[in-house]
Symmetry: D4
Subunit: 228 residues, 8 copies
Amino acid sequence: MGEVAKLDTGRAERIGIPEAILAEGKDKVDLVKISLAHLEATGMVIVTRVSEEQTRAFEETALPSGAKLEHNPRARTVVIRSGERKPTCGRVGVLAAGTADIPVAEEARVVAEAMGCVVVSEYDVGVAGIHRLFPCLEKMRDMDAFVVAAGREGTLPAVVAGLMEAPVIGLPVSTGYGIGGGGLAALLSMLQSCSVLTVVNVDAGFVAGAYAAKIALRAYKPDVQKQF
Amino acid sequence: MGEVAKLDTGRAERIGIPEAILAEGKDKVDLVKISLAHLEATGMVIVTRVSEEQTRAFEETALPSGAKLEHNPRARTVVIRSGERKPTCGRVGVLAAGTADIPVAEEARVVAEAMGCVVVSEYDVGVAGIHRLFPCLEKMRDMDAFVVAAGREGTLPAVVAGLMEAPVIGLPVSTGYGIGGGGLAALLSMLQSCSVLTVVNVDAGFVAGAYAAKIALRAYKPDVQKQF
Amino acid sequence: MGEVAKLDTGRAERIGIPEAILAEGKDKVDLVKISLAHLEATGMVIVTRVSEEQTRAFEETALPSGAKLEHNPRARTVVIRSGERKPTCGRVGVLAAGTADIPVAEEARVVAEAMGCVVVSEYDVGVAGIHRLFPCLEKMRDMDAFVVAAGREGTLPAVVAGLMEAPVIGLPVSTGYGIGGGGLAALLSMLQSCSVLTVVNVDAGFVAGAYAAKIALRAYKPDVQKQF
Amino acid sequence: MGEVAKLDTGRAERIGIPEAILAEGKDKVDLVKISLAHLEATGMVIVTRVSEEQTRAFEETALPSGAKLEHNPRARTVVIRSGERKPTCGRVGVLAAGTADIPVAEEARVVAEAMGCVVVSEYDVGVAGIHRLFPCLEKMRDMDAFVVAAGREGTLPAVVAGLMEAPVIGLPVSTGYGIGGGGLAALLSMLQSCSVLTVVNVDAGFVAGAYAAKIALRAYKPDVQKQF
Amino acid sequence: MGEVAKLDTGRAERIGIPEAILAEGKDKVDLVKISLAHLEATGMVIVTRVSEEQTRAFEETALPSGAKLEHNPRARTVVIRSGERKPTCGRVGVLAAGTADIPVAEEARVVAEAMGCVVVSEYDVGVAGIHRLFPCLEKMRDMDAFVVAAGREGTLPAVVAGLMEAPVIGLPVSTGYGIGGGGLAALLSMLQSCSVLTVVNVDAGFVAGAYAAKIALRAYKPDVQKQF
Amino acid sequence: MGEVAKLDTGRAERIGIPEAILAEGKDKVDLVKISLAHLEATGMVIVTRVSEEQTRAFEETALPSGAKLEHNPRARTVVIRSGERKPTCGRVGVLAAGTADIPVAEEARVVAEAMGCVVVSEYDVGVAGIHRLFPCLEKMRDMDAFVVAAGREGTLPAVVAGLMEAPVIGLPVSTGYGIGGGGLAALLSMLQSCSVLTVVNVDAGFVAGAYAAKIALRAYKPDVQKQF
Amino acid sequence: MGEVAKLDTGRAERIGIPEAILAEGKDKVDLVKISLAHLEATGMVIVTRVSEEQTRAFEETALPSGAKLEHNPRARTVVIRSGERKPTCGRVGVLAAGTADIPVAEEARVVAEAMGCVVVSEYDVGVAGIHRLFPCLEKMRDMDAFVVAAGREGTLPAVVAGLMEAPVIGLPVSTGYGIGGGGLAALLSMLQSCSVLTVVNVDAGFVAGAYAAKIALRAYKPDVQKQF
Amino acid sequence: MGEVAKLDTGRAERIGIPEAILAEGKDKVDLVKISLAHLEATGMVIVTRVSEEQTRAFEETALPSGAKLEHNPRARTVVIRSGERKPTCGRVGVLAAGTADIPVAEEARVVAEAMGCVVVSEYDVGVAGIHRLFPCLEKMRDMDAFVVAAGREGTLPAVVAGLMEAPVIGLPVSTGYGIGGGGLAALLSMLQSCSVLTVVNVDAGFVAGAYAAKIALRAYKPDVQKQF
């Protein structure tokens, strides 16, 4: 099965996406066990949507020597890595329209950082007060990719993509109420945008962060430069 | 039946909305006949969605003495009034996000003008290039109401309502394509807006214009002032 | 950034909408703290969707000297203002079709009153017994704007807009059941109305009340009168 | 197969619904042929949605001796019966909210008349001018069943069912535009009605008319009276 | 306000629908109080969706002298009447496709009986075993109206309406799962039926029962007979 | 790539589905050319949704020696095979609820026959006259699989699957009108069925016919028998 | 009623589907009682969606002599049979795309085994790592039917049906999140598949397993072989 | 207005997206005129969805000296540039699942090439014959970004993103039929994908191509390299 079979053993690093475990609905003992197994196999594990109780279970666990645990309560993530952080490379900007969009934006940030990127974030810069956005964007001119989280009407990604050169990933958030709530209006509005941007599904912070990191890392990959 | 019955004869002027006729699908001879009947009864008639052929039929018709016809080809409207224009009073701002949104915005403008308002309009100021919007809004600080037409992602009304004091009516337009097209994304996004605004149905230029005029006229109604 | 930057500090009063805090999901200690901060900054704060427990937390809090708290249990709101009420000006009519629509209608009322309007309300006047509506409307002839809340089939706003001159804001309510429930039928039916009216999203009592107050206040703004 | 098998030959008269043929999409020669076959078998045939060309084909056909053809251009129906009309019995009221709802209402009327009912109709009595409705309803106090056709917001059936005793059938019509158009808002609004009524599908004039006639005829069925 | 005003006092008996109270979400003390008020005003009250606790509250209440309470646990209804049952008149057939559809069917039955009809019911006769249906229908040949409750695919009403002469009311039930669940497939399938029938909203047992009783009672109304 | 690569050349016969070409939207010259290429490569080609003009183009084409063309005008198919028909084996029953469902049912039949099955079909046996169905099913007791086509309410597959042992494939048809039309109600109703059946997409006659033939052929595959 | 009536007594074995009881929402005492009644009548009963508490109730029940109980905790099923297993015959392959799809896939397996089939299963072989699938399929070349469970994007059934000859039943699973979640995207994607496959509703493990067993058993039915 | 105003004149080159004109619905004379104006202003113009007649109009126009026109009939695009092509840099892979997806894929290709990228494309490699895909992907290992177009079930992007390292943009295409057609199933399935990918709206070939080029160009931007 040639090349295909090779992928079997080396897939994770070739695709370039770290292993992630959804904590939601998992027993805390099982969760810790699975996470440590992943840690041992790949040197890093990202656990998303962790409850406070699950976090305590992690904190009370004896990690392998040299391993470090980072807990981000806003993102509800736990990241454990067996050794040193990768040298940082690639710059990702993360924006959130409202305060309710921050947890999903933070999830994107944790993933992009875990993949070795520098992340600059600005939150609560939605279009209901559009003027707050401009000074933030000034500071982000050298980003390689943007994740822009927005619930309700979901407009912020289109505005950012109309002003900045780096690729923008629209991340709809399941805020909002009534008709078009749960992220539907946000998603549709990003798909209809007159700006050039792409979208991920509602609340898909992990996917948005990993995708942005992929774009940003590519700009610094030495072997890529040699090929042309 | 008291007060209710009185409404029967005097409804049009009390509700304050001029008579409008949808030309679409009507025979041109019938259309002219019905329009002249309305003109005679109420002194003014607004005909919307007129074809070129129907417009010619109006232009070739002998109007009653003193009557004046105005044709707006972008709005696809014909307005006939039997006498002088009302003295202008009330200021309505009309904005359109893209060039494809102009016909619906113009329909709103024709109606608001027919109801006696001064209308100031600015088109092609959508959020994909949000910076073009600010100088336009500066010129519109003294408006009494805004109609903001936007198709595709429908964001412009939320931005305007976040910056201006006068009430904003969101007017979704049936532009756009794929999923969320036909004005759906625009409508949902306006309903989900974090700004304070109200909406009308997709392409409802007449309703938006008449409603804006109602708000604007009320600010100048002399008898209202006396009551407090 | 000129005019845009100026908005940054003075936005709230220029847009004319008081600060509101959604209590739902907030810790009671945090809620009180944030509310007092807003009170200090702007002289008034409106808290919506407060639970009984949160209300008690407010009532047990020592308010700044001169501040007054008003709790409306049907609207589930708490309003705190640091000084005197604004002189009343502008008249808003609030109608609700059924008894289940009253909480959302009351939310609209609290906001309009907080913005300085006189509010007259009539509840349980839906179209299943349409004759009950007419005497109510008689008493409301001098209103400057109407908020008309209706769930299930959502017809009342269209009927009111067909009989009254002042602008009508349709406020769909998430009552109803089966297919078209949750306010969907009500919203669609208001959007399709043959009358001239605008709508807000399902259960958006705050938006409807603030918008109505904007219309009503404008009719009494002295500096506006001078400009023509 | 006993009783079931008996239904095979005598079904039409037992169920009490005349045979109807949808003309839309049928070749005019085939249409006439099928219609005459039905006429011969059952003594009456109702053809719905006939084009002008198909109507001419019927009018140019030599009917069997004694047969009579009735063409209703507004309803777009052709009814042919081989002998005398049934003695009339049962009273059906047919109402239409707007002028665009008349063709579907007329289709209901043609069917109810073909089934032997007296039909009283009133059109253009929608809720945007609700006061026009009351005098119409006064004249219809002795109806046995109502068909109430309404497009756009579809409110009229609920109003009628709140005022009249006889059963009301809501008939949504595919008028309307934008979101909720094509009869969707009308149907949902009828399903959500607080009044007691039933509905048929959008534009189902035939079903509504036949059902109303069934109710009305039952009130006069002599053998039914004897059984108690 | 003439005729309209007259409706005000005499509406309930003219429309012919008894007062019903939805128990769901009501405090048990309030519920009993409101129910007794209705009982006193109209001589009968129907309480729907009662919990076991609410039922006990009713059973522990001292009713006015002569009043009788009937509790139907499957329908989750309590009916209290101040005097004798009306003399029965009118026959309603109630069918349910599956056992899960019985509670909604029973709600229809309780209402029709409360309005004075004889109700014959047959449950668990759905189309997955269509042969069980025929003997049931044989026993129901003299019914004046049918309520046919069906969830999931909702087919039974169409089958019954294809075999029986009396009008059929389709009552979709919120059983089913996955896509088309919650009664949606059942409702759509009834609306699309090739048979002549009408529908009510999902789980609207009260509406279906009351409507069927209206049809059935009309066949026996002595004064109606005299008018022709 | 081993086994996977082998599939590349031999896929068609291993999967067991003949090549089919959708004629809709193709130029008639191109269509004939592509079809003959398929014929040469695999010995048979099925062309679906052919227009009359395309059919004539096929009939005027000189086929390779020994090839035979079969045109089914109701199914709108052309089948060309280079040699003899396969020996028949496997029995497929095809039912259609209404006459409008026949073209899609016929498409299923043509495919099943092309794959070597005996097909028995019965049309116009829908649930509005359920008693017509039973004698048809009696004749189909020895079928190996059923395709049951039904539009509008889509009930027939559930009834058949409740009475027959062989597997039933529900084939929704895009007949119907109003809400739930275009095959939506039919599809949902089949998915919700209490009987054991599977479904294909709306109008997917080819898929239904090929799948039924797969089931039927398997019952007669000699090499399969040996393996146990 | 001839043949139809005969079905009444012998339906279960003729249709070939064992009796199944949905445990969800049933009282544990009732559940055991109903199950034993079914066991006595038909020799086997399948109980689906059993809770841990209900399972304990079964395990503490004294079964009739010779009866055997099998509990599958992943499938959440209890199967009780009064005598020996049927001799196995027919081979069903069950695949699941992700680990979250396993419970529904296991439900299908339990049913197919209860009907006498040999089931081979492979889980966690989804398209995000498509190369893992091929070795699994190699081992399943002699299956008679496949059940392929997949949530989220629901692609696996199409891939399998493009590679294997035996009929594939797509089983969408209610995993996934955001827009298209709850199995909707999976179902639509299976319906749109370019491969030849059929689908059942979301989470319908019982239906998929029973249908696959029907197909597989047919290939080994001795009396079928004789008929040609 | 500082930085914001500067964007006004230099926006196009800073955002990095060339000007595009949608030809659909435009008069051919107007279209040529607008296109030449854009060409003069920015040195390049991309015209999408051109008809054959519009293409001829372009070909018959005298272009400015040095300008070159490229017409891609499959993509339905015309690209005119005033001088030399940019030096190529950045590699974009474009895949299409079926032949019907090629026009949209080609539109993406034309845009990416116009922005200076090398594009490698492979079409008709959908999942119904998944083995055809692997050799294609082998040739595309050094791509910087992928556009993967797929209609109907829309699976291909997920498969590619599971095998390749470079970022994948899912491009749903409005092929497909019945429920989930028009690109809906494809879009939802891409949003639900377990792989890391982003999506654009249905048929948005321009957006997908421009976004892929943005990613690819960034990997070669010399000034970016210096900043770290």
